[in-house]
Symmetry: C2
Subunit: 325 residues, 2 copies
């Protein structure tokens, strides 16, 4: 199938073409990369936009159950929902997130929903580009909401925040002094914090945790892209389907405010610029990935380690070799 | 003065030549860069090695007082001590650490000590290379101990840890549930944690904090480069000069163990390899810093932000322009 045919079918909402297009943007083969660049440029002309919601939560916070319940609520409101995963750890675990569809059994069978397991390999940089392009494909296919989930390992929250309109942090209730190890940088990226598992005997703990985070969020400086009262911390129970409507209303209200104030488009523009710069940098560093460059780097690295040449002089030698091709 | 003359004087312990050599390696002028590379290569032949101690502590933990007391103790034991600062924030504050010599009044006047204020500018990458080369100059000048201090802003701990034999974290006593915001990654880098201000009414708090960190360190996996019982958390009082001898004995014991087991040389070799790779990467990315490249990046970035071209295609265009020079 040529690019134009795939593009048309994606734009018409064809599921098989959608899967195929995502497989194409996820491929690292050189010819696929080129075809993919053309496809993305073609699909971008549709001008369709989804609400892109980034969702970060460590294992154990009930992320799959949340996505299932939240996604079902959206599909029942006649919204079309795509779920993508950014999981840098799947490289090691051999695809920990491949079970997505079984984890989200109900949502996987809902007609308005589309769940895409995370690609099962490679470094974060590659995953970033692929996820970003997969989001673009889903938008062109006419989804209203694209949920991008990450397990929050290493820098993956930054990747997800840089491809989302809203970035949501999902947490579990914590005991009295228990730390959840949420870094300040992640807190500052969050547009909303949801404390899940606010049900049964965890409810009091969820309430305390929610108040703690609401307090912590108030201490952070108010950001120009936030209306009064945001970012918010709210309680939800994915299992009892409680608080999800409120959370969605708040997300829509934040989106509406930002759209009107021009912040939503400004954020997308800033993100596009960011990824452009990242792609250029990655392209420059890719010169080190050829077999010849790798061999040369290893040899020089060993001479440096033996103390035969200083790091600075060895680097000069390597750069000069790269310049000469 | 030519490079050979400076080198000889540095090797003979001439103070003015030492200052001059460090000024040279800190300069970003192209001709100075070249001279500096030659100087470092020449000085490396001396084979002299100091114990390089990296010291990280946020403002308020009493870092200057600690360095003053610890440095005085070392000079009184007939050891020659150099103090260097890695302070990425001085770019903004206009040289916050320039007052080093006045902050460390006694040590600055001690004959066996040398204090070098941090260079007052530029990005962390540049500071990293300069600090690393300044350490090499001090080693060649015959110092026994080189203390490299950082305020622990952003990535500066990583820079310091990557040029040190031992990496020490200096903390202040904390209240009951007060967090010191020590990231797990920093904890994992630390070879020793010192709780300062274990004096007066802060002593009980220091004791509790020390026990907390000792517990946290035990939870981290034992590293192959550590003998039994390390990394350790200890209490010190820089102001009362208490605990400093014990801390020094423990540092020497760790150094001795690592030297015997070959870990010290292995760490230096790994660090040299790391800096070689970093220098190569920085050299590749430096292509983006020419005025022409900056202009092109800005123009393409704006087209990307306006949605006229995708980030990926714009990056391809930029890379191809760079290839054509």
């Amino acid at each position: 199938m040529d690019i134009e045919t795939i593009a048309e079918k994606v734009l018409n909402g064809d599921r098989r073409a959608l899967s195929r297009a995502i497989t194409l943007v996820e491929s690292s083969r050189a010819d696929h990369r080129e075809a993919s660049a053309g496809l993305i440029q073609r699909l971008a002309q549709s001008g369709r936009q989804a609400l892109r919601i980034g969702l970060s939560g460590t294992p154990g916070v009930g992320k799959s159950t949340f996505i299932e319940s939240f996604g079902m609520m959206l599909t029942q409101a006649e919204l079309r929902v795509a779920v993508l995963a950014v999981d840098p750890s799947s490289a090691r675990s051999g695809g920990s997130i491949l079970g997505d569809k079984t984890r989200m059994d109900q949502l996987a069978r809902a007609p308005g929903a589309f769940i895409r397991p995370s690609p099962s390999q490679t470094h974060l940089g590659g995953i970033a580009r692929r996820s970003r392009e997969a989001v673009a494909v889903c938008e062109a296919a006419g989804f209203d909401v694209v949920l991008i989930e990450t397990v929050g390992v290493g820098q993956s929250e930054t990747v997800v925040a840089e491809i989302s309109d809203l970035f949501i942090l999902l947490l579990a209730p914590a005991g009295g002094d228990e730390l959840q190890g949420v870094k300040r940088g992640i807190m500052e990226m969050a547009d909303m914090i949801l404390i899940n598992k606010a049900d049964g005997e965890l409810k009091p703990a969820a309430s305390r945790t929610c108040a703690d985070y609401a307090g912590a969020l108030r201490l952070l400086r108010k950001r120009p892209q936030d209306p009064e009262g945001f970012p918010k911390a709210l309680m939800v129970s994915a299992i009892e389907q409680a608080g999800l409507e409120t959370a969605w209303t708040e997300m829509k209200s934040l989106e509406g405010w930002r759209r009107e104030a021009g912040h939503l488009q400004a954020r997308r523009a800033a993100q596009a610029r960011y990824w452009f710069r990242e792609d250029v940098k990655r392209g420059l560093l890719a010169q080190l990935e050829t077999p010849a460059a790798r061999t040369h780097m290893t040899e020089l690295g060993e001479a440096v380690a033996r103390g035969e040449i200083t790091p600075a002089l060895a680097a000069e030698e390597m750069l000069s070799a790269l310049r000469q091709g």
